[in-house]
Symmetry: C2
DNA sequence: ATCTCTTGAGAGAGCGCTCTCTCCACCTTC
DNA sequence: GAAGGTGGAGAGAGCGCTCTCTCAAGAGAT
């Protein structure tokens, strides 16, 4: 009891396989009454083209690998940016009838597997999300002659089109807001320095405070709540006088708020806090978080467009999307 | 400049295509020195089997659809349960060399697309995550003669193996905790009643409070923070005397905590709050949330095992995993 | 010495589809 | 009316692989 083939459709419609194929693929050189007969046969038989056979001859698969190169398991599961990006990219690709093959690249073993898979021609292109600086994946993939685009600027200088948000500009805006509201000692909890986002947001912080006396100290987290809480405790220990902290993402800011609360500091009265990302949870912290919003879904959609553009042979310029300061109560 | 084929490997190793295929597929009926020659040729040529050609003949694709049937866009992006489940399932499938094809089923249009895709033989099996009660997908897919398993019990009675956590038992434990700690008027914020998880957790609440005078009122949310905040405001308006609330998931509990704060109620002194899920954020609320933990990753892994078992022809019983009360400060 | 059995390897038929090439019928043009 | 177009449809090759069938060679049994 096998699924019907194009052959069966053709037989039922009384035409050749070639003609049936033409109808299936929407070619216009088929007379209307024949096309109707074929369509009817397709409908009656419940015919669905066999994708394996099709891609065997067309050399296309119509599927795209969405590679999530994640550091710890924690981050991926907890950071809503990931799911938003995945979801948006997925919807966008669905709209153009491409499949999304989701691949996690955590270990070196999975890297090898990934490379083999991708070079195996299973996918037409690759979208890379959030890799670390040391990640060998971008360069490895770009060597594979497979179209690759990246969500976020790759850390190593490699010729891959990417979409990123203006991390530096956003961080600058956030820190500037702290300066303008009269804060004197502005610390920061930076993200992982092997991630571009982590680096750039720290750069933005430094750009504003360079040669000023507002600067305080830097602690480094890994974008998790827990690391934010730890970093905040350390900052309070190292500079008890600080009156503001710029945190490189909202998740860490949530942790920082908790540490501040536990240390008896009032936010924003004693210490102002600015986060980054504007995740949904930022509205629900105590107090609600002032943060920098960037369009994650749009960024993912832009990445998809970039990739599709690559398929068409177009050269793709990197895209940088703006960030926006959202002022709530924490600063 | 085409990728090397099995033919090329065979030629280089001086054997027939059939023998090369035997080596690639790990058959043992090949003499060691010949096997070595083939492996060397594979290595030198960088041969990777063409999956389209392979699945054309084997009628297998080695890929599994992970269908996320989500109601609103919000929930998926923000609820960390989704990403945890997806991640866990994905890792588990990778371990057995299966691909994960991610599919979002939001609109009716995407349902049609999905059915077509799945019945098109693109995937060997389907894993369904979180559908609504009215979701026609489970029955539709089970009709397609494609192996299907579900994350969470399907709302309609359909013969699909599933893995779920003990929603009723968990809710009972949570509400019982409130009773035992002396609460008198225990309200609840229920989940969407077209989702099994929403129904069952409400059932658990009712089971404990049936025929008791502890019972208060029921508000219904949709598992988002926002809906939790709204529902809490409504509960306070309708029963200002309530001294406890059992919230059907942590996300809504976060919203509820905010509303309680805004209403000037102290937690847990005035109102005790119990959530459900034990998401990471539950540790960082003010105060930290007492909630019911259930093993999301294990649940996803069990779902994968169920599906693999189905491939082997084994009959699969539903699996119910236990929940655990995690007592923090909110109750 | 003959026969059967096992082991190892090759030949070749497809899997279901696309796409080029070919051909036929009909229409235009001089 | 013959030559040249043109649109519509079929024939058939082949995409890269697996797998059955076949066969050769050697081992063991009679």
């Amino acid at each position: 009891m096998r699924r019907p083939t194009l052959e069966a459709v053709a037989a039922r419609a009384g035409v050749s396989r070639a003609t049936a194929s033409r109808v299936v693929n929407g070619q216009t050189t088929v007379a209307p009454h024949i096309r109707d007969a074929v369509l009817r046969a397709i409908d009656e038989l419940g015919y669905v083209p066999n994708s394996a056979a099709r891609s065997l001859v067309t050399q296309r698969t119509d599927s795209i690998a969405l590679v999530v190169s994640e550091p710890g398991t924690r981050v991926f599961s907890e950071d809503p940016m990931f799911s938003t990006a995945i979801r948006s990219a997925s919807m966008e690709l669905e709209a153009v009838n491409k499949q999304v093959v989701l691949m996690m690249a955590s270990s070196a073993k999975s890297h090898a597997r990934l490379e083999r898979y991708i070079s195996g021609g299973h996918v037409d292109g690759v979208m890379l999300i959030s890799m670390h600086g040391a990640d060998p994946l971008p360069s490895a993939l770009s060597r594979l002659r497979v179209p690759v685009v990246s969500y976020g600027r790759p850390a190593v200088p490699v010729e891959i089109p990417y979409v990123d948000n203006d991390n530096i500009g956003g961080a600058e805006a956030g820190v500037r807001h702290l300066v303008e509201t009269g804060r004197r000692r502005i610390a920061t909890i930076a993200g992982p320095q092997d991630m571009i986002g982590g680096q750039d947001r720290l750069t933005g912080y430094r750009n504003v405070l360079r040669d000023s006396d507002h600067r305080s100290i830097v602690a480094v987290g890994d974008f998790t709540r827990e690391s934010g809480a730890v970093a905040m405790r350390q900052l309070l220990r190292d500079d008890p006088e600080l009156d503001a902290v710029f945190v490189a993402n909202d998740l860490m800011a949530v942790g920082a708020l908790q540490s501040l609360r536990q240390a008896g500091r009032r936010v924003p009265d004693d210490v102002a806090v600015v986060g980054f990302d504007d995740i949904e949870a930022a509205k629900y912290t105590e107090p609600p978080l002032t943060t920098l919003r960037h369009p994650v879904a749009e960024q993912a959609a832009a990445m998809v467009r970039l990739l599709l553009n690559l398929f068409e042979g177009g050269a793709s310029e990197p895209v940088i999307l703006p960030t926006e300061l959202v002022i709530r109560e924490s600063a």
